[in-house]
């Protein structure tokens, strides 16, 4: 029984995150051992020679599930018939750059990619935006790709979610799979809110064991928010491996479904008072085949409300700045 391959497009394909991600895609760990994969790899022209080397290594892996590989700097080729698009490539933050400058550099990139996706990708394409500022880049993408249902676009906050699970597990010395009830609210930036107020280990609430509101605010949340910087300090490079792992988790949950509640930045539908028009990370249930439901009806305490409001404000401000730049 042959399953037809799914076409996965990865941008920024010669970069560090992609280097870790592509082997996982080709080996079948993302969509399962029966699902062949066609890879379309997109890079900017200066990175094409390095991309050629990456493709050599993919071929040298002799992956049985890797149906074919295309390498290109042309988005219309890269996104042709794509079933999945992973937008890793973005203009990186340089020293001295303000958020406005970062937005200014990235808007044209995501606008262009939105047009190409709208034009060439499969009607059912699912797009995950990784390149920062992820939430606002996703918003721009959605604005310029009107034929893609907004529910088929998301931004990655799974890395922060995984980091939160790991920190809870480490502090309580339990296996990570026994942790549940955590989620990430808001923007994938320093205002993200890792919410452990409802965290459980083997279904037993552990928020008090973790130190309650004071310790969490003073210690736990800053640890998660600064984890990226901590990894850079230790490794000398940014966290490619864990980012790739989070992308793989995000794709698997989204496409294949997930029995656990996870975090994804999805278009806000007004839940929890978050205005529509932004991509906001919520706790979600993935029902499979791309169907994602925001978990409704969670009681938001005063403590959490402060953080959620702050990250929402930042997203509204980014939205205003983006709209202004697009004028």
């Amino acid at each position: 029984m042959t399953v037809s391959p799914i076409t996965v497009c990865v941008t920024g394909a010669a970069g560090q995150i992609s280097y870790s991600l592509l082997s996982m895609l080709a080996a079948g760990s993302v969509f399962g051992p029966e699902q062949p994969v066609t890879l379309h790899l997109l890079e900017i022209p200066p990175a094409l020679p390095a991309l050629a080397g990456v493709v050599m290594e993919l071929l040298d892996g002799a992956f049985p599930l890797l149906h074919s590989v295309t390498q290109t700097a042309d988005p219309s080729v890269a996104f042709a018939d794509a079933d999945i698009a992973v937008l890793v490539g973005a203009f990186p933050r340089r020293a001295g750059m303000e958020r406005k400058d970062l937005l200014e550099k990235n808007l044209p990139i995501f606008e262009r990619q939105a047009h190409a996706l709208n034009e060439h990708a499969s009607k059912h394409v699912k797009v995950v935006v990784v390149g920062n500022p992820a939430n606002t880049n996703a918003m721009v993408l959605a604005a310029f790709a009107p034929d893609i249902p907004r529910a088929n676009i998301s931004a990655l906050t799974r890395l922060d979610h995984n980091r939160t699970m790991a920190q809870v597990a480490a502090r309580l010395d339990v296996p990570v799979q026994s942790v549940a009830g955590v989620c990430i609210w808001g923007n994938h930036s320093s205002t993200q809110y890792p919410d452990i107020t409802r965290a459980t280990v083997d279904n037993v609430p552990v928020f008090d064991k973790l130190g309650g509101f004071e310790i969490v605010a003073r210690d736990f949340i800053p640890t998660i928010q600064k984890r990226g910087a901590a990894v850079i300090k230790a490794r000398g490079f940014s966290s490619a491996l864990s980012a790739a792992r989070a992308i793989a988790n995000h794709l698997r949950s989204w496409v294949c479904g997930d029995e656990h509640i996870v975090s994804m930045a999805v278009p806000s539908d007004g839940s929890y008072g978050i205005k529509e028009g932004v991509f906001f990370s919520f706790p979600v249930r993935c029902m499979g085949d791309g169907v994602v439901e925001i978990v409704k009806g969670i009681e938001i305490d005063e403590f959490s409300k402060r953080y959620i409001d702050a990250t929402a404000e930042e997203l509204y401000a980014e939205r205003e700045e983006a709209l202004a730049l697009l004028e």
Binding site: S23, G53, L159
Partner: protein, 403 residues
Amino acid sequence: MLRTAASNAMRLGASRATRALSTKNADLLPPLKVAVTGAAGQIGYALVMRIASGEMLGKDQLIDLNLIETEAGMSPLRGVMMELEDGAFPLLSSVTATSDLNKGFGDINYAMLVGASPRGPGMERSDLMAANAKIFAEQGKALNTSAAVNAKVLVVGNPANTNALVASENAPDMWEEQFIAMTRLDQSRAQALLAEKAGADVKDVDRVIIWGNHSASQYPDLSHARIGGKWAKSIVKDDKWIKDEFIPRVQKRGAEVISARGASSAASAASAALDTVRDLHLGSGDAWQSNAVVSDGGYGIHKGLWYSVPTICKGDSHFRRVQRLPIDDFSAKMMTATEKELIEERDAVRHLLPGHESKPVSWNVLESLQTSFEEGDMKAVDEIAKELPAQFKKGVKTAKAAA
């Protein structure tokens, strides 16, 4: 060195079936211990995440991961540990980082020796050999002391074959078959090239063999290769392509990747290492997997060299060599050339092998010593004598004094 029965029992790795019975959590098998050296390097980085995700030992297999680095590598290694933690891997039962070999190799079932001494500027090949021989001698000793009784050791760090030989020689209580040098990367590269030439899917290509040393002298052999079950040479009827393009391209693929990427082939090397251990552990049916294992004299190869041959991996870390394949004249020449290089490599590190004092010296070395002496080429005599055991050095000294 005899181990006590008690310590044997503690370290004996049980088969999958027995381990499954003993687990409390019915879903997951109790942890296997895997050690990775050079874990903070490029290949290690690409490897550890895929091990943690269950690709190597199975989706139901818990893993205790021991990451080993030199003192200098411990700080970036901490970063790797943070990232592994951030991966929230359910199969990672524990992760340890250490620069202490005995701690790192304690009770391990699989060791992946990725770390090696790189070639520095101005280094001769013999210096590289010697530097690595020291590292792998130490690792062999530590494995001998600390590893589980049926541990399997995959040597990736180059020169892989000779490093495996040195490690094994320094681990007298372990079977030579427990040490394997990796040539799977070359096999996968060869499979990919053949598939590309034939316009076939790489998964339909099999029985491509890599003979000999994991170096430019390796012999990628299509004599028995198949595409879709049919003899490959009946589909790709291009002997010239095989000799002039296929063989050199596989041999030099590493340099090709470095040239394009600007960095060496970490991801594909990690992939090959993972494939090797996975096929050993889970078995790969009737497929032929090229592995550099100790030569048992098959194909006329010197015993005691680590020489890549086709093997069949039966699972639970057992393998058997594919023996007595018909070898044509061209193949025989190629196989002998790579064997010769391996003999030279072994002779270059001979003085670092334990008990070398009592080992016989190969006849061709003695012959060249004799010839140089007769020709009066004392410089050559001294060069050769440098590598010889003490009693030969004494004999040379005496002969020179008498002359």
